[in-house]
Symmetry: C2
Subunit: 187 residues, 2 copies
Amino acid sequence: MNTLSYGLLALLTANPLTGYELTQGIKPLWRAGHSQIYPLLQGMESKGYITHERIEQSDKPDKKIYTITREGISVLQEWVKLPAEPAVLRDELHFKLYSLWLTEPEEAKTLLQQRAAFNRSELDRYNLLIKANEALRDERGETRELKATTFGRYLLLQKRVMAMKASIEFCEWAIGELERGSLPPEV
Amino acid sequence: MNTLSYGLLALLTANPLTGYELTQGIKPLWRAGHSQIYPLLQGMESKGYITHERIEQSDKPDKKIYTITREGISVLQEWVKLPAEPAVLRDELHFKLYSLWLTEPEEAKTLLQQRAAFNRSELDRYNLLIKANEALRDERGETRELKATTFGRYLLLQKRVMAMKASIEFCEWAIGELERGSLPPEV
DNA sequence: TTATATTATGTCTATATTTACATATGCAAC
DNA sequence: GTTGCATATGTAAATATAGACATAATATAA
């Protein structure tokens, strides 16, 4: 059971999902491709943490809907209590900023503008997800569980939004530093 | 040549360093252990991007000081121009927040407080690095290159500082949400 | 006096991640 | 009509990362 496995269990506590839906749904939380996810689902099923039901479809390929078991919930519950490991961030931009003096200031500006544009599109995506989450809560948020899951999602999405805003702010600030000529003009 | 290799080259453009110093110095930029770094240095030397000089020491183990070659600088220069791939963030806390409803609110609060404490210590470390960088610039910042490298470092460290501040802000906000009881009291 | 930390370089194994390969249906655009 | 996209599930191979094993000097703390 690696971190991603617990993450899949976490998604399945809200509602049963297919491997395909898990691959899509995990995107705001963790980076993982379907080739990682399908084998982990098989492994967790053999451990008894999840079960699946095969749904035959005529128009689209058949699918497997995975449901978390009581045992799966209990192992997740134990894991959630454990302190969270420090986040791992791997960003090429760190190295590119560090090597700034090797580039023309215009190139550096372009790098930062590209990153800012990407972050803005991510921010839009997260804002859409927050709206969808609110709609879900308002529509069928009668039960305590659903209120609680939409609250967890709300916290997580706000975390991503705040991180994206900070990253955009950094890009804009750094572009300003470059333009204001913190470096002597001949560089 | 993977991303980490280019990162090592980036560090070596500022001044020659040993594998050990690279292992320490890369920490604010990328997560990597020495077992990753030593083989990459050997590989880059065989490609002609770096060279080393062995320094014998009687009190401490001998060391190898690596210097970037003209060819190494030019491959790095080409790489820096390329657009930066999106950052990869892997944070267990995402899954733990998503699973919040499985935990007691007190446990959730503890998770967030632990993360905030860790981030504050990281913030302190970065502030020290910024001061050291400023001291370096003021002491022997006569050359254009040194000014430019300290500027690159300055941008990078500010990026980390802004990200840490945003993360601390999130933790404090989320703890507040938990305390303010956005969830019905019986949860 | 023994244990631990720092400096210093390396290998090996296990695990995690990425990318490509593989197959299949239906729908829309061109 | 065929190219590409969304749905859907899988495997295989290559690469990256983490953790353990290995050695060795000196200094410091318990």
